[in-house]
Amino acid sequence: MSGWSRHNGTAVALDLESVDTDQLIPARFMSTPRSEGYGGFLLHDLRFGSDGEALADFPLNNTPEASVLVTRRNFGSGSSREAAVYALVDFGIRAVIAPSFGDIFASNAVNNGLLPARADTATVDSLIGYLAGGPAKAHVDLDRGMAEIGGVRVRFDLDAVWREKLINGWDDIDLTEQHRPAISDYRNWRAESQPWAFPAERAAGSSTDAQPSK
């Protein structure tokens, strides 16, 4: 994942509360390999009729270049499926601005370079009102925690850890590898003090494939 600190693009409004992960990507698409691209699955059942026809009045269908989504509370609530984030990212979305996000969705977003920007409800109300007239130019600045949409300036909240991660595009596994010795020390302590936390090692002497007894 590559980092970013500024983005210039196009904002659209998705005037809905509680857009959950099952709406972001219906479960039936999730056996697809990522390499095939998930953008077409984004909000599939809201964007397309049951005949597969794109619904003309759905915002994203008119603005395929959209990269900033402004939406209402509890966005991304529900499941841990990272595919919900893949669908947004593969469509081209870089930032979502909303009053609140599902916790797991938000951390998945940051792990994929997608900004979950929290703004207060009144600000989001006015942005959605503004965007009702159509998409607008958007500028997002992670360092300053600010976005500018059609001339309206918005301050957003973002955890400091997440800000750093989005800017640096860090791979957590690489970071963690530097702490191998500390992890190894911890493991030894845990195996010593709470041996029951390691059932495979406990069973290694007898049977590793315990059968149910209850």
Binding site: M30, S50, S79
Partner: protein, 464 residues
Amino acid sequence: MRTLLDKLWDDHEVLRRDDGASLLWVDRHLVHEGSHHAFAKLKARGGRVAEPGLTYGVVDHYAPTRGPAASPAIVRMIQTLERNTDAHGILCFGLEDPRQGIVHVVGPEQGLTLPGLLINCGDSHTSTHGAFGALAFGIGATEVAHVLATQTIWQKKPKSLRMTVTGSLGPGVGAKDIALAWIAKLGADGARGHAIEYTGDAVTGLSMEGRMTLCNLSIEGGARFGMIAPDEATFDYIAGRPFAPEGADLDRAVDTWRRLPSDAGAVFDREETMLATDIAPIVTWGTSPEDALPVTSTVPDPSRLNGSEADRARAALDYMGLVPGRALTDIQIDQVFIGSCTNARIEDLRAAAAVLAGRRSRVPGLVSPGSHQVKAQAEEEGLDRVFTDAGLDWVGSGCSMCVAMNGDAVESGKRCASTTNRNFRGRQGRGARTHLMSPAMVAAAAVAGRLADVRPLLEGRDAA
């Protein structure tokens, strides 16, 4: 003075960075078919699974419940999990394994879930395991890959929320009703950013199965973590489970676990309280778990709400095909589903069977036990015959119609009374209309052919 959360966190913290992120040790990592993205990420790095002995695979999301898999894609998902777990030396409870079931049923059942452990799984209902006083939370694919590679996870400590439920639950009211009641009260994002510790005599009075249901639904109110301090009921449940410690090991473990409950006087970031006597059997009417009301209520009227809330209610009622002001008990259903990681344990099946015994269901439906073992136990008790005599299908175990990935789906426009966890649009299939409720309430709905209050149906019966 530390809370249960503080103790669990301190116990697993390998290190903490200056910015506040903790690197936590993971005791149990549960993987399922949906973990294929994470295994692919690991493969792309050329990485190995750090602790195959602490990683367990379970086939559940795509598990067929009736005959062969419904499509080649489903077969491929199951085979991919089995291939990945094989390649990394991970024990996998596959379709033919007598220990197979839904991951959040199997973990506790096998004694893999223990107090004081940190448990991760790429599934938002991992909070279920918190019922044992474990720090258990759902993670996404990038995090799953990180746990596979390092057996650790980076997390910022959530705020603590103590939810105290006091008093006695009425007949026909259980853990599912407690959960839906608080989610309706606080909202589907009401506990966002918090780890909930459930306490009070209405909580400690629940069985382990009931506690799992309550913790399972934490995420539906926005909390990634839900937990209950371990006590004698917890220790009794664990004793004799295949992967649980035994003998002197168990004694030593129990001594340690007894020190886990929050210290008297420990301070929580937030407190919420509820009276058990205020909680009635609950059903959902809309498309978010917060759209929940006592079954004795009427369908809400959006014109009495404001702004975006009114818009959402209107859209929800439109999707659900409901008319404001009508009694909830006038809503006719097309089918029922009893199953899922929320409500497919033996006690759930007993509660539904207690209502259905000697009665017929007016609608078709599926009963999918949470695991092979729950299925065997239910059959030993004759519960399967209660369900089939009532006209319902008794099928295999898996996530089934809760998430509709295995081909078990509700048809568009059909209305299902369901013991599951999400009434989201399209969750049970495109256009499906889901009403969430307890197993006893689903059984009552089956008997009535519409949403119904279970309490009159329990008169003169043991509620189980």
